[in-house]
Symmetry: C2
Subunit: 122 residues, 2 copies
């Protein structure tokens, strides 16, 4: 099922893999914006105004390393870089949609701030 720790292998839990791949603070948002069309760095900046350039660049680089997005550089001046969903990235869409649906449902049923986001100390 979720985990294979019990096999003695030091493989990691695949759910944690998904969480690490899409679990960055801005990654679901980035992925969502890239869903239908490729976007430039500056476009993503405008679409997600709260994200800093540093975090946007970092998360895009991580998504690229994980092969979820493709980075295309057009050698022009000023430079133009486009990000789009890769084929591998598209295989994640059904999973994201399932998560989205459940999360939405859960939020409707308990619109309170959820426990996972609560502070550590009492």
């Amino acid at each position: 099922m979720f985990v294979r720790a019990e096999t003695g292998e030091d493989r990691k839990c695949p759910i944690e893999t998904v969480i690490q791949v899409v679990g960055g603070k801005w990654k679901p948002l980035i992925l969502w914006h890239l869903l239908n069309s490729s976007k430039r760095f500056s476009e993503l900046e405008k679409l997600i105004p709260e994200v800093t350039q540093k975090m946007l660049a970092q998360h895009l680089r991580e998504l690229e390393i994980d092969r979820l997005v493709t980075r295309t550089i057009y050698p022009s001046v000023p430079p133009k870089v486009e990000y789009s969903m890769s084929e591998h990235g598209k295989t994640l869409i059904p999973v994201l949609e399932a998560m989205c649906q459940w999360g939405d449902n859960h939020n409707r049923q308990s619109p309170k701030p959820i426990a996972g986001a609560a502070s550590n100390s009492v």
Copy 2:
């Protein structure tokens, strides 16, 4: 789709909701162990030897607040407490399975440490 930030509502991205609900370091593991049968606190401790009592208690409490697990106290001495999947928690299983399958697949294709887990500073 994933997000409803664009509606002007300050609702949160449902994917982040899922991540917060199951994204704690030990939560997928706890959920996996509760999948087929309810477990006592001390049983979970033995099943997940690396988890500390503090983290186990904290994550169980969060899962309880999010209504994924049910906590049953038997008023005996020494005390006995049982944790099990709630009905709402069971609705999450297909989502976790989808995540699991994709994560497993992704791990097979790139067994390297994934970018999301990389350190921040260069």
